[in-house]
Symmetry: C2
Subunit: 248 residues, 2 copies
Amino acid sequence: MSQSLDRALTLVSQLATGPKTLDELSGVIGVHKSTTLRLLRTLESHRFVQRDGVHHYRLGTALFDLANLALEERDVRRAAEPALRELNSRLGHTVHLASYEDGEVIYIDKYESRHQMRMYSRIGRRAPLHCTAVAKILLADLAAPALQKVLAGMEFPKLTENTILGPAAYLAELERVRANGYAVDNSEHEDFIHCIAAPIRGARGEVLAAVSMSVPKVLLDYDGLLSHLPDLLATAEAASVECGHVPK
Amino acid sequence: MSQSLDRALTLVSQLATGPKTLDELSGVIGVHKSTTLRLLRTLESHRFVQRDGVHHYRLGTALFDLANLALEERDVRRAAEPALRELNSRLGHTVHLASYEDGEVIYIDKYESRHQMRMYSRIGRRAPLHCTAVAKILLADLAAPALQKVLAGMEFPKLTENTILGPAAYLAELERVRANGYAVDNSEHEDFIHCIAAPIRGARGEVLAAVSMSVPKVLLDYDGLLSHLPDLLATAEAASVECGHVPK
DNA sequence: AATGGGAGTTGCAAAATATGCAACATCTGA
DNA sequence: TCAGATGTTGCATATTTTGCAACTCCCATT
């Protein structure tokens, strides 16, 4: 729609992969160096990019500020924080908070594991829909038409032996999630990690977000993981109460 | 330099303060609705903004992703993490990591206090230069010409009884910081909080970042705070080693 | 059910703006 | 000192962005 803006945003995305020179960036958007330079200068004036030495550009600090401000505005995140922090510090495992937005599931908060083995994940990242416990929780609460729409766009790449491979099996899984009130990722995403998740609900009972706890299999077998369900559900419940949920 | 890009970035900054309607946004950049709409659509296609209901726009998830990716790329942050986390979980106070960039001091990481009373701060935010311990650490390491330039642009608003009020006093303070190897914010920023900071150094001994620990005065008096200096310095030293620093 | 207002959307013509070019500047390493 | 690579600026051109006005859609009011 707006060509120069489009190009500039492409530059920013490109810079996310690491500092780049003017020429490299020009190559990416296919324009003359001088054009790229002018775009970068505008981006720089808003602190979206900054110079890194003389020959490189990288992402600027405005992005950090904006992103963290926006994250803080998400009320669930703030409201759920104490409960999630408590769970994380008591059990020492990785705790994630994720929310559904517009066909995607996004990690909006993360509490790192105390153990050596860490998961690779990141706030802001999209969670795969077919193989994560948080996605199952969030999609399980969608109305049928919205769910169908998401399902239509979903893919089911086989990531491990346990990955769910098609819409039918996935729908059945969501049914189980609804019945149980929690979701599991039984090494469906990565071989060495499994995961449980539960919903955080708002005043009208709607699902606002999902909490999950991820544990490497070497630390805890599947039964051991499930034995933490009461902890997780209590955490989710506490967070829900903070979000205005009235337990029945 | 690039008008449309400039306008679009202004829109993004504006959205940081909360969701806005098309008309509100048009007002901010002073153009016709249709122009704003086209900019927003481009921003939307890159997931920089997203629609919030029908009538509002808000920041999109690409920002979270970019910002956190960029933060992770900052090597100091990753390298310093274990040491900072350890300090935070052992003493339970707020720990900040800040770095100097282009005339500014930016918080690049934060570990929340375990206590009820929290500081208001945020990753990505700029720290005031004249009244924070991290800024003192970082500015104390600047070469004279660079420091002069920063000093020329500095302001010294009086925030508490103890705030340092002018360049002369500030330079004297930096001299003390260099001599001591640590910095203090003795309630110079906020009445009820004080703070100590220490440098994290790289392979050539240069200051890469500053760690600080902030404590409410009700929890610990000034002498109590200073009694944690050995902890803080040890943490900074450990982080420095991770960054390639060779202790002399 | 009809009416009116508010908000968003589209096509088009006008013009302001972004673009590529070529010349110039700066830096690095031979 | 020179060659080459990289970054920077002024200018003319035309592409892209803009505002306009008409249109649609949705909601609230009569």
